[in-house]
Symmetry: C2
Subunit: 450 residues, 2 copies
Amino acid sequence: MQFELTKEYLEQLNIAVESKIEAKILELIDGLHAVDIAEILDEQSTKEAKAFYALLPEELVADALVELDEDTREKFLEEISSEEIAEKIIDNLDSDDAADVIGELSEEKQDEVISHIEDIEQAGDIIDLLNYDEDTAGGLMAKELVKVNIDWDVATCIKEIREQAEEVEKLYTVYVVDENDILQGRISLKKLLLAPENKKVKDVYNDELILVQVDIESEEVAQIMDKYDLVVIPVIDEIGRLLGRITIDDVVDVIREEAEKDYQMASGISENVESSDSTWSHTRARLPWLLIGLFGGILGAQVIEAYEDQIRIHAGMALFIPLIAAMAGNVGVQSSAIVVQGLANNSLGLDGLGKRLFKELLVGLINGAVLGSLIFGYNFFFSDDLTLSFIVSISLVSVIVFAAIFGTLVPLMLDKYKIDPALATGPFITTANDIFGLFLYFYIFYLMYN
Amino acid sequence: MQFELTKEYLEQLNIAVESKIEAKILELIDGLHAVDIAEILDEQSTKEAKAFYALLPEELVADALVELDEDTREKFLEEISSEEIAEKIIDNLDSDDAADVIGELSEEKQDEVISHIEDIEQAGDIIDLLNYDEDTAGGLMAKELVKVNIDWDVATCIKEIREQAEEVEKLYTVYVVDENDILQGRISLKKLLLAPENKKVKDVYNDELILVQVDIESEEVAQIMDKYDLVVIPVIDEIGRLLGRITIDDVVDVIREEAEKDYQMASGISENVESSDSTWSHTRARLPWLLIGLFGGILGAQVIEAYEDQIRIHAGMALFIPLIAAMAGNVGVQSSAIVVQGLANNSLGLDGLGKRLFKELLVGLINGAVLGSLIFGYNFFFSDDLTLSFIVSISLVSVIVFAAIFGTLVPLMLDKYKIDPALATGPFITTANDIFGLFLYFYIFYLMYN
């Protein structure tokens, strides 16, 4: 049932496109959705993609363009005249997608395209939407919605909804507003279908409504829709007027991107990079963390260098350098990750900082005791240097406790100063923990042997 | 507008609950949603929560229970009689939530509760749903839906929809089936409202429909709904009969949990643990990775031990142990993370293994060249051992290239054998890379000095 793009399919299609056998192309894309078409376009060479795009049935052109990778879309839009963008693409899109597409153009081209939009109302909607920051409720919302007046009766409502619905692709909820367009509540189609025709809206509508203001961040919109299991949420301005609505499909993208960003941060990738991107994009996304790692490694080398003469005497000390450094980093990342997820899900609960740190101390001590005893046991049986065994175990416990507390504090502090707390699971903190772990190890070593 | 739980609010509420001042409680929870109530219950002590729950208005009882943390819910259900569960809770839930709640009970209690459900149809739906694996489309779907026969006219349809809609809380799509209940397509309410009453369904319905079979995995359902921006998707059996529907809110949970699982894996947390969970849960979630880390550290120590005598002579070698080990781990995680995300998003594209590995080789060589030169420069200026400088740089480049290729191969292989590829960004591979990095470093050291 679902389309799966294969190499063979792509080859067949490209041959048909090259030879312009339209019948074959139509047969190949029969039943495909705009998303599938976009997937094909993303895999084709620029030349192939342009030839294919030119032969697409008109109803797929606009939607496929919206679904494209941003880079690929940019390349396409550069080739198309402003008039064609307005007529073939913008005219077939909802206001939110239309604004997104136009927002990617140069200022000059934006004005040109807008001047070519025939439907004045749509042009106005797009201009309104372009004013909102991409990462706010305003940037996510569409203007298309169905609303009824609170003073109407059910029969008028149904008549009005019929008319309004022609403009709206998917009808989710009917909003109820007063004469000043102030949002009052909602009424479900089901209720309208079931209610007697002469009832007034004000007697059957639902005045409990979760809504968002136009200027809140898109992440917060996602959190609210996720928490309350909403499919659509209305957006209001400062005085409560209904401006638009955000649907869950746009918010799913926000949720996924947010989670991906955290995962990338924890994996040391600094840009959103896909497997199929260029070697250069990959290098650019990965090198920054590795440079921090290199810098950390050099600092670590300097810590060790200070004890170089002692290592000559107690060469056994060198054995546990990787263990101590790795453990410091690991424990820190674990502690930070739990805080980061708690902040992302709003599930940190009501515990104060003191209680939180005390729990980390406890967890650190338990984990430290287990791991410290194990490594002591190992050293006791396999090494004849009892002092070294003590040093390693004591260092390990100290490092684990310290890293657990540090790892909890850092994301909380970052969040307080409005910095993305997921940074804490990334390179800086891991590297800092590594170095501090080494420092502690050698300092304890120095204390015990002097 | 949205409820935010504070310490002060909780204290006020707990006082009111303790003194059973019902008016005060109702005032405090006025306008709250079931999710908010669940949030409160999760923060209360078991005793407080039970007292509060007993005083809740009936319409909130069932929904709040569904929204609770699984642990908390289990505690509640243990205290409630089977009859009360059936009447107060199950009766007020959609079939999917009802099946989820019943599925958490003991086998014996399941039978008791089901025997107390009065609505035979609902009991049947729940029994059907309990048969499906939690992690499949069947485990996500609800049986409540609105369907019409393809041979009816629009007037009959609207009449039927009115009747069926009374059972269905939210009406998303009207499905069209034939006389054998085989799914044929869908018809939008909008279209029904706009069509003349005497038209036949078969003349106005839409036969293009994305659907899933009941036995596919929930992750695949999530991928399809996300890809095609669907709010609801129908579920069919092997011969195409309409069984139920899955709504986006349940799928958002799957998407979020999946992303969280990957993040936790990359951060070395082996169980889903929240900040507010007990010290014991935290220890249990974090110790496994640390044990693997400890084991890896011991293996690393053994690699170094083999060269202990040489370290006495060339103590400078010890300096770069943390750098080499950390870099091997970092590069491996980066490469794996990109593959893991590509697999999760279905965005790996059509490149074959050879092309993919060649790109990794290239990225590894570029990154290695940059980092190797930098560390060579550092050593050239700050160390007088030129051989050591060469060893460190050559090792670094080799380790980076090796880890990049290894990090790409492992998740692809895991995926091929149906193991979660995100494991590759977790402890095993990082530790393996660390150790292999050390091994390579000391082996090159051995070759250069002998």
